[in-house]
């Protein structure tokens, strides 16, 4: 196999580790669609950055996008906890609001410029090996690979240092607050981490892969967690990495989009792991011929 292939698989694995870890906390807080919300909400940030910088390729775009990624998480939080809206509805409202705002801004001021997230922000994992950097004259491999590696380390440190706080926050916000811990601090560190991680990953590998990896590996991890958060995280991260490897193979075989194949591989893994799950799986249900009551695992996990 070629070096390019290994870089792409490695990149998929880095994105998978990042998204699976963050996505697990989002999953437990019923915020799985946050990645998709951010992928839409960044549009006004991109348009504003374009107006400030006047160029469609700049660091400003990333900053603008990240700011609006954080803004949408703030809106969702405010609508849910201050305005008393259902969380799924507040996610829907927040990102459609910002996305439409972006569309209006484009049609008012930039209708003669080809500007949308697809062409100025979202990258493509297939093009990763062609965007390299060097340090002191030495070739250092793909630029985005190094960027994601740094992001993985940063988010890894954040989750490691903040594990207790994020864990409490994930299961019982009120209880967490009653223990006197800085609920707000950990909440915003997690949200900041998610917003930063998703926007940078969008730029490196495109939106579909990031959204898929934020949702599917954590879902697999939850299925096989049996009440343990560390196990959920481990299974999620492992299945994410496996999806990257499998997905690349699939893309070579079908000569198709690498990101779409990696997402498809993650879905296949979810299907398999559901079928063979000892209690809730398709096979188990078939054998027992009766429905096992769905155990609400959300609140019981420690």
């Amino acid at each position: 196999m070629s070096t390019d292939g290994w870089w792409v698989i490695g990149m998929g694995a880095l994105v998978a580790l990042l998204c699976a870890a963050l996505g697990s906390f989002l999953y437990l807080r019923r915020l799985s669609m946050l990645g998709d919300a951010i992928s839409h909400a960044v549009l006004p940030g991109i348009v504003l950055a374009y107006f400030v910088s006047g160029a469609r390729e700049s660091l400003g775009l990333l900053v603008g996008a990240a700011v609006f990624g954080l803004l949408v998480t703030y809106l969702i939080d405010w609508l849910t906890h201050k305005a008393g809206m259902q969380q799924d509805a507040s996610i829907g409202l927040s990102f459609t609001l910002l996305f439409s705002l972006g569309i209006v801004m484009v049609s008012l001021w930039a209708s003669r410029v080809d500007i949308d997230a697809d062409c100025v922000l979202y990258g493509d994992i297939a093009l990763l090996p062609f965007d390299t950097w060097s340090w002191g004259g030495r070739p250092m491999g793909p630029r985005h690979f190094a960027m994601l590696l740094g992001l993985d380390v940063l988010i890894g440190l954040l989750l490691w240092r903040g594990y207790k706080g994020m864990q409490l926050l994930a299961f019982d916000r009120v209880f967490a607050a009653s223990t006197g811990m800085a609920v707000g601090l950990w909440h915003w560190l997690l949200m900041g981490g998610v917003s930063l991680a998703t926007v940078f990953s969008f730029e490196a590998v495109g939106a579909i892969l990031v959204v898929a990896f934020l949702v599917i590996p954590p879902a697999i991890g939850h299925l096989w967690s049996f009440g343990s958060l560390p196990r959920m995280l481990a299974v999620a991260m492992l299945s994410g990495v496996a999806s990257s490897v499998l997905g690349y193979g699939l893309a070579v075989w079908l000569d198709s989009s690498i990101a779409a194949c990696m997402s498809t591989a993650a879905l296949l893994l979810y299907g398999m792991s559901w079928i063979f799950h000892p209690q809730r799986g398709g096979l188990a249900l078939l054998l027992k011929k009766k429905r096992v009551p769905h155990a609400p695992m959300m609140g019981r996990m420690r």
Partner: protein, 306 residues
């Protein structure tokens, strides 16, 4: 997981030093139009391939695993520039340290370009609609490849001169065809803004429903404005492009009908991509001829008012 090893085994080596047994030099171009120009200007020793097939909208192109291999294996690259290919164009530019890269828009003087916004990079990318500008792109391509492959310089120069003559003939033909239309009928109304260069070259006025990006949506107000506009100017026909759906202009035709103005939906015009291989518009020369014929014939028939 079955056959993963097998799948991996299939992955072709992307070693750029792979020697092609036929001795051909592989040129990879982004759009079908850029590939067509390279095919026309380069002699047979160059094998030209396009990443985006016929009918593919460059604004919405998604790459596949095979594209990665094609990009790695290519000996030389050609892209349009002016942000037409978005991020792909940036990636092509970054390959300059490894292999010859030709950006067609480098052959154009910025004064010959049409501005689309107040910013430095805000140019309308559809310059191939003016055959004389496409000629400048051909000059750039020919010069870049003669410099990169001096051993083939003479053949390239000969092929370029042949093609230049054909572009001259084409330009004259289009000019004559448009001259058949009375001034008041010289309107090109389309879905997205691809005909500004064509209009400027041949003295036709241009109006569109959408902006440049085919991804952006059109609004109700856009449709209503266009309906009023078409009726006010007694325009006989409007045109859809081969890369977008006709849904938007159907609304305009319906809108005119409800006001008693019979507007025709002309044949679809080719803009950002060639038609299918073996079809009526599978080369640039054919594409411009087909477009011109469609435009002139549709606009000649006088609009019917009921």
């Amino acid at each position: 997981m079955l056959g993963l090893g097998l799948l991996m085994g299939c992955a072709p080596s992307a070693d750029p030093k792979d020697i092609d047994r036929s001795g051909k030099i592989h040129v990879l171009a982004t759009t079908s139009l850029a590939a067509d120009l390279a095919q026309a200007v380069l002699p047979d020793v160059f094998q030209v391939e396009g990443l985006m097939g016929p009918g593919t909208d460059p604004h919405l192109y998604k790459s596949t695993q095979g594209d990665l291999t094609a990009l790695r294996r290519a000996d030389a690259l050609v892209h349009t520039g002016l942000q037409l290919e978005g991020k792909l164009g940036q990636i092509f530019e970054k390959q300059r340290s490894d292999k010859p890269v030709c950006r067609l828009s480098d052959g154009l003087d910025s004064t010959s370009l049409i501005k689309s916004s107040g910013f430095a990079d805000g140019y309308d990318p559809h310059f191939w609609m003016d055959p004389r500008l496409w000629m400048s792109a051909a000059v750039q391509l020919s010069a870049d490849f003669q410099k990169a492959y001096p051993q083939h310089a003479q053949d390239i120069e000969a092929a370029f001169r042949r093609y230049k003559a054909e572009l001259d003939v084409l330009d004259g033909e289009v000019e004559q065809a448009v001259a058949q239309l009375p001034d008041s009928a010289r309107w090109i109304v389309t879905t997205h803004d691809a005909f500004n260069y064509f209009g400027r070259r041949y003295g036709m006025q241009v109006r569109s429903l959408q902006g440049f990006s085919t991804a952006a949506d059109f609004g109700v107000k856009d449709v209503r404005d266009l309906v009023d506009f078409v009726i006010a100017h007694k325009i006989a026909a409007v045109f859809v492009e081969n890369i977008v759906s006709s849904r938007s202009l159907d609304a305009v035709v319906e809108g005119c009908k409800s006001k008693g103005f019979m507007l025709n939906l002309g044949p679809s015009l080719y803009t950002d991509a060639l038609g299918p291989t073996g079809g009526e518009a599978d080369t640039y020369l054919k594409m411009i001829r087909v477009n011109t014929r469609s435009i002139v014939q549709s606009l000649q028939s006088p609009p019917l008012e009921s």
